[in-house]
């Protein structure tokens, strides 16, 4: 594998939350929450499509917004991003599954079915987070 391409394959080359190195409090691996760490797992993805799928929505949005900016000027993507930000805040309590209906309608994905609707549907998950701990974590009390 050529070394120039290797840099772009590292997990931390992409600024997406969830892919950052697994440091908890005090800058050390948070074994309780994230499990055992290994240097290889933190640096390289474990599947060819892991990076591209994790960032798929992000990349689509970036592409669409930059096209929109080039065609219609700065205000159009700015206004749309403001609406996305507002719609993203409409959520239920942290341990409950939100429908994200407003966000879906804005994105236009409310009339299409993809793998994310069929596989690993959070509504059919067998485990649920501990409600008290999740709310405390969200409020920053934990």
């Amino acid at each position: 594998m050529n070394t120039r391409g290797l840099r772009s394959q590292l997990k931390d080359s992409v600024p997406v939350t969830g892919l950052a190195p697994q440091a908890g409090a005090y800058g050390v691996q948070d074994t309780m929450r994230r499990g055992f760490s290994s240097v290889k797992n933190e640096l390289l993805p474990s599947h060819q499509l892991e990076l591209s799928e994790k960032n798929f929505q992000l990349n689509q949005d970036k592409m669409n917004f930059s096209t929109l900016r080039n065609i219609q000027g700065l205000h159009a993507p700015l206004k749309l991003q403001m609406e996305y930000r507002a719609a993203r805040q409409i959520q239920r309590l942290p341990f409950l599954q939100s429908s994200n209906l407003a966000l879906d309608t804005l994105r236009g994905s409310d009339d299409s079915i993809g793998f994310e609707d069929i596989l690993n549907d959070p509504a059919t998950s067998e485990v649920m987070g501990e409600p008290h701990m999740m709310v405390e974590y969200k409020l920053g009390l934990l």
Binding site: Q48, L49, S52, F56, D111, S112, I113, G114, F115, I118
Partner: protein
């Protein structure tokens, strides 16, 4: 027997080669999306839409979804035949073959295809092409299904022809006593000695 011709829309059917699970799920998702579209817009979907949706989806997954698909149907612009490969490539031809038996089938198609054939000649040609695939390729199954789509409707002929090689296995392989000759017989009686006897009463009331 597995069904390799999948329903997409009333006027569109899709033949799937490659990984069976991938073709099943991909064609189901495509069919759902096109149904939502036709409910939204009140129109029958067009083949080029189905081909585009498949292309986008398969290219996104960079060939990890092993679906080699042939889409065929009749829409308001006429009748079309498209093929979509697993990496997202698309082609539009008058005749196509995909899968492990595609070279064998293409041999027959290249030889005898003519534009504007009669219906029965076309069915015979397709049957011969698939037969070549069945005979020359191990992974190509046994039976032949044909799906004829016209402006008037769909004729899904399943099976068009079943395999002539039926299963002739016996399934029971018992032999008569005396089939194997006995050369020598040696009887050793075991002497059983009674060592201990305990009697436990049961209440049988």
């Amino acid at each position: 027997m597995c069904a390799k011709i999948h329903y997409i829309a009333p006027n569109i059917y899709c033949c799937g080669a490659g990984t069976a699970a991938d073709t099943e799920k991909t064609t189901e998702i495509l069919s759902s999306n096109l149904t939502i579209f036709s409910m939204n817009s009140g129109r029958n979907p067009r083949l080029i839409m189905a081909a585009n949706i498949l292309q986008d989806m398969l290219f996104r997954y960079k060939g990890q979804i092993g679906a080699h698909l042939i889409l065929g149907g009749v829409d308001c612009t006429g009748s079309h035949l498209y093929t979509v490969g697993p990496y997202g490539s698309m082609d539009k031809k008058p005749y196509l073959a995909m899968g492990s038996g595609d070279l064998a089938a293409l041999g027959i198609l290249e030889d005898r295809f003519k534009p504007n054939m009669e219906m029965e000649d076309a069915k015979t040609l397709v049957r011969d092409a698939i037969h070549a695939g069945i005979m020359s390729d191990l992974c190509s199954g046994n039976n032949i299904d044909i799906c004829v789509i016209t402006r008037e409707g769909v004729d899904y002929i399943r099976p068009y022809q079943e395999s002539e090689y039926k299963d002739k296995r016996q399934r029971k392989y018992k032999y008569k006593p005396g089939t194997t000759p006995v050369l020598k017989e040696n009887v050793v009686p075991l002497e059983i000695q009674l060592v201990e006897e305990t009697v436990q009463r049961m209440d049988t009331a």
